[in-house]
Amino acid sequence: MTGNRVLDARIPAGPLADKWDRHEMDNPLVAPGGNRRKFTVIVVGTGLAGGGAAATLGELGYNVLNFCIQDTPRRAHSVAAQGGINAAKNYQNDGDSVQRLFYDTIKGGDYRSREANVYRLAQLSTGIIDQSVAMGVPFAREYGGALSNRTFGGVQVSRTFYARGQTGQQLLLGVYSALVRQIDAGTVKMFPRHEMLDLVVVDGRARGIIARELITGEIKRFAADAVVLATGGYSPVFYLSTNAVNCNATAIWRAHRRGALFSNPCYTQIHPTAVPQMGDYQSKLTLMSESLRNDGRVWVPMNPADKRRPDQIPEAERDYYLERRYPAFGNLVPRDIAARAAKVECDKGKSAYYSPQSVYLDFADAIKRLGRNVVADRYGNLFDMYKEIIGDNPYEVPMMIYPAPHYTMGGLWVDYNLQGTIDGLFVAGEANFSDHGANRLGASALMQGLADGYFVVPRVVASYLAGAKVSTVKADHDAFKSVENESRQHLQKLLAIKGKRTVRDIHWDLGRTMWDKVGMSRNRDGLLEAISTIGKLRESFWHDLALTGTDTDLNKQLEQANRLCDYLELGELMARDSLMREESCGGHFRDEHQTPEGEAKRDDANFAFVSAWEYTGPGKEPVMHKEPLVFENVELKTRSYK
C-alpha cells in the first residue's frame, strides 16, 4: 500500500558545499552553563555514534543518560570493525578531496542516498581523524611519523586510516575514554546492562524510554527532553551474520511501532569476505577484513568438476573472476559486486574445495612480492583467526571465503538533522538510513558513526532543544506508566507460551528464509514465499516458544526471545520492501532486473526514491511513503567498475 505523506528532509538551501556551515549558523544555540544542564538527553547505545554523541553532549554541558546492553560501554559492536576509517585528508597526494569522497560514496551507494547528507559526511571526515589522534588513538604510522593509509574497495585513492586489523576497537576505545571522562565529571550517567524496551511519546514528541535492567529484570522509566537512538543495524535477522550475537533491532523497531517511519529495509550489505559457513550449530560468521583484498587475489577453479586442493590447480586452470570481469578495479570492486560475483561462480558449481559455497582468496603472489613478514604485519591477526577456525594456514593454503550478512544500510528515516518522523527522536549511525544508499563502501561505517556522534548529533540536538520549547514531562506521567505496563506484559506473555521450540531454533529458520529468499539475489516468487513463511514462523513463535526462568532475574533466553519477536516482523518488512523495489541497485539485486552481463539494472525513472514504511498495527499491511531523491550535483550514471 502506498501512502502520500510528504517527507520533508529539511535540507538547507544554498550550494552543496555551504549547506552545513550555513545550517550551523542559522540554527539556534543553547548558551553554556546552567541553561544546558537543564536539558536531559537520553542516548541509547555506546558505539561510535551513541558513545561519541553521549560524550560530546556531556562535554558541552548537557545532562546525558546513556544506555547499553553490554556490561560496559567499551564492548559496543563498533569494536569489531577491522579494516579502517575513510577521510578525505589527501595525505597521499593522490587526488583525494571532499568532493571525491562525496562522489565515491554516492556512486558506491548506487545513487540511492541523499546528496546533502553524504556531502556533510565527507566534510566531517577529516575532523574525525584529527580528534581521534588527539585522543590517543594509535593509528598506523610511517617511519617518518606521519599517519599511514591503505586502499579500500570501490575507490582509486588511498584514504583509509587504520590501526592494524582493529580499527573499530581503537576508535571505540577512544570514544570510551571520552565517555568515562564525562562519567567521572558527572555530566553523563551510564546505565550498562540496560535494554531499551520501548519509546515513550507524549504530545507527539519523544520524551523518554522504558528500559529493563538485565541483571534484576527491573523495568524502569527514564524521561528526557530528547532521545537519541544509536543502536546499530539489523543483520542478525539472517541469524548467521558477522554481527555480535546480542546485536538487535528492538530499539528501532519499537520506535517504528510508535510512529517512526522505517526506510529502505531491503538494503542490506552482504560482505564478500567472511569465513564460509560450516554447520547448523553455528552462532555467527567471522569476517575477514576487506583490507585483505588489497593484496589477496580471488579465484575459483575454471572447471566446475575440479575439486582438487588449490595447490594442485595450475595457474592456467584458475579463474581470477574479479580481475577478469572488472579490470579497472580488479579485486577491489565494491562489496555488493564482489559478493554477488562469488555467488555467480558458486552457482555455476565452481568453488573452493571446502564447500560448494566458498571461493579462494590467495596471498601467494603477495607473499612472493612483499615477503611473509610484511604480509604478517598487515594481516597477521586475521590469518591467526582464520587458522583457528578452519585449521588451514593461510600463509601456505589459500584462504577460503564466502559472503555473509554484515551491515544494514536501511534504518529509521531521518531528515538532514537526523531527526526521525517523531519530534525529538534522533537516530544516528547504522540505525538510520541516510548516508550509504543501497550499498556502503568499506571503511565508511566508522566514518559515519563518528561523524554523527562527535559532530552532527551534538549540534542538531542542541538546535532542537533551543528551538523546541519542550514542556516539562516527568517519568510519573501516565504515558510512562502505560508503556511500562505494556513492556512488562509483553515479557510475561513470552514466558507464558511454554512451548517446545527454542529461541535459536526459530531464529535459525527465520535466518535461512531471509538468506535464501531475501539475501544476495531476490525474485518475486521467492519474496512472496518469504512473506508467507515468516508469517508462519511468527505463529510458531507465539504458540510454541520454549522459555524457562523468570522476568525478574538475569535471563538471556528471554532477552533473545524479546529481540526475535521484532526480527520476525522486520524480516517481513524487508521482504515487502524488496518486492516493491522493481529494480536492482547496490545490495538489492532482483533477478528480474539485470543487464545481459548480469550487472544490476537500476530504474531511476521510477525508483529514485527512499521508501519510508509506516507501521499500521499488528498483522496489518504497512503503508509506504516516498521521499524523492533529488540529484543536483551528480549525474546519475550506470555504475561501472570495469
Binding site: G52, A55, E59, Q70, D71, T72, P73, R74, R75, V79, A80, K89, I129, D130, Q131, V133, A134, M135, G136, P138, F139, A140, R141, G145, A146, L147, Q166, Q169, Q170, S177, V180, M190, I215, A244, V245, Q277, M278, G279, D280, Y281, K284, L287, D347, S355, Q357, M385, I389, Y454, T502, R512, W515, M520, L547, T548, G549, D553, L554, N555, K556, Q557
Partner: protein
C-alpha cells in the same frame, strides 16, 4: 541449489561426547556448586561457546534454566566472554578468548570444568557471569586524554615515531576481559591498568597528563581491592591479546616518576 544446503553437506555424522562440570550459582546466593552435564555430537569445528549454546537449548527443552554466561562478538575482540576452562582463564590455548576456543582441541570423552573468573573485585552475578565494573571505575580516573571534541590540531601536526605508535598499539589492544585478574594469585589488575597507562605514555598526546593519570589509576586500582603484582607472570600467559608484562615495569617507572615529581 539453495545456499543453506551447504550446512548439511559439511556436517560430519558423528561427533564427540564431552562431559562438563559447570559452576551454577543463583543470583544473590553466597555459594554455588559444580553441576555435571554431558553433551553429545560435538563437532571439532564447533566453538566452545557453541557447545554451551547447544547444552542450553537441551536444558530449556527439558524445562530447566539455561546456564548464564556472557558473550557477544564471538570473535575475540569485544572482551565480553571469559570463563575459566579446566583451571585456565580462557582455556589453555594461548592467545585466544573463550569464544575463540574450538572443540578440535578436545578428544571424545574428555571432561572439562567451567568456572567464572574468580576475584574479590569481580563479584559473581549469576552462574558464570561476573561484575567487572571495577575496570570502568579505574578507567574513569585517568584512562583518557582530556581533549574536547573540536579542539584537535591536524592529525599530522604532531608526528609520532612508528616505533612509539607500534608500542602504544601493542598495549592498546587490551580488550578489558579481566583474564589477567582471574589468573593472578593476588587478583592483581596490574596488566590491565599498565596497558592503558603505557599506551598513553608512549604517545605525545598522553604526555601532559602522564603523572596525574598514573597516580589516579593506580590509586583507584588499590581502592577497588585488587592485589599487588608480585611478578608471577600468570597474567601475560593467559592474556588473549598477549599483552606483555613489560607494561607493568613501565607502569612502575611511571608511578615512581610521578611520585618523585609530586
Amino acid at each position: 541449489m539453495s545456499d543453506s544446503s551447504a550446512n548439511k553437506n559439511n556436517s560430519p555424522s558423528k561427533g564427540m561426547t564431552i562431559h562438563l562440570k559447570i559452576w551454577r550459582q543463583a543470583r544473590g546466593a553466597a555459594q554455588g556448586k559444580f553441576v555435571d552435564y554431558t553433551v553429545k555430537d560435538i563437532q571439532k569445528e564447533m566453538s566452545f561457546l557453541e557447545m554451551l549454546d547447544i547444552l542450553n537449548e537441551d536444558l530449556v527443552r527439558k524445562g530447566e534454566e539455561a546456564i548464564e554466561f556472557d558473550s557477544d562478538c564471538r570473535e575475540g575482540i569485544c572482551g565480553t566472554c571469559g570463563l575459566v576452562v579446566s583451571g585456565v582463564a580462557h582455556g589453555r590455548h594461548a592467545g585466544t578468548t573463550t569464544c575463540e576456543i574450538r572443540m578440535r582441541h578436545y578428544e571424545d570423552g574428555d571432561t572439562i570444568t567451567v568456572e567464572p573468573f574468580r576475584a574479590g573485585p569481580f563479584p559473581i552475578i549469576k552462574d558464570l557471569v561476573v561484575d567487572r565494573e571495577a575496570f570502568d571505575r579505574i578507567q574513569r580516573k585517568g584512562g583518557f586524554v582530556s581533549t574536547n571534541v573540536g579542539s584537535a590540531p591536524d592529525g599530522n601536526a604532531i608526528l609520532v615515531p612508528k616505533e612509539a605508535a607500534d608500542n602504544a598499539m601493542d598495549a592498546a589492544t587490551c580488550i578489558g576481559c579481566g583474564a589477567c585478574v582471574a589468573a593472578c594469585p593476588n587478583a592483581s589488575a596490574s596488566l590491565f591498568v599498565s596497558a592503558k597507562i603505557s599506551q598513553f605514555a608512549w604517545l605525545p598526546q598522553g604526555d601532559p597528563e602522564r603523572s596525574r593519570r598514573a597516580l589516579a589509576m593506580i590509586g583507584q586500582m588499590d581502592e577497588e581491592g585488587f592485589g599487588d603484582c608480585s611478578n608471577h607472570g600468570e597474567c601475560e600467559a593467559v592474556c588473549p591479546k598477549q599483552i606483555s608484562i613489560q607494561n607493568i615495569a613501565k607502569m612502575r617507572r611511571e608511578f615512581i616518576r610521578a611520585a618523585l615529581r609530586g
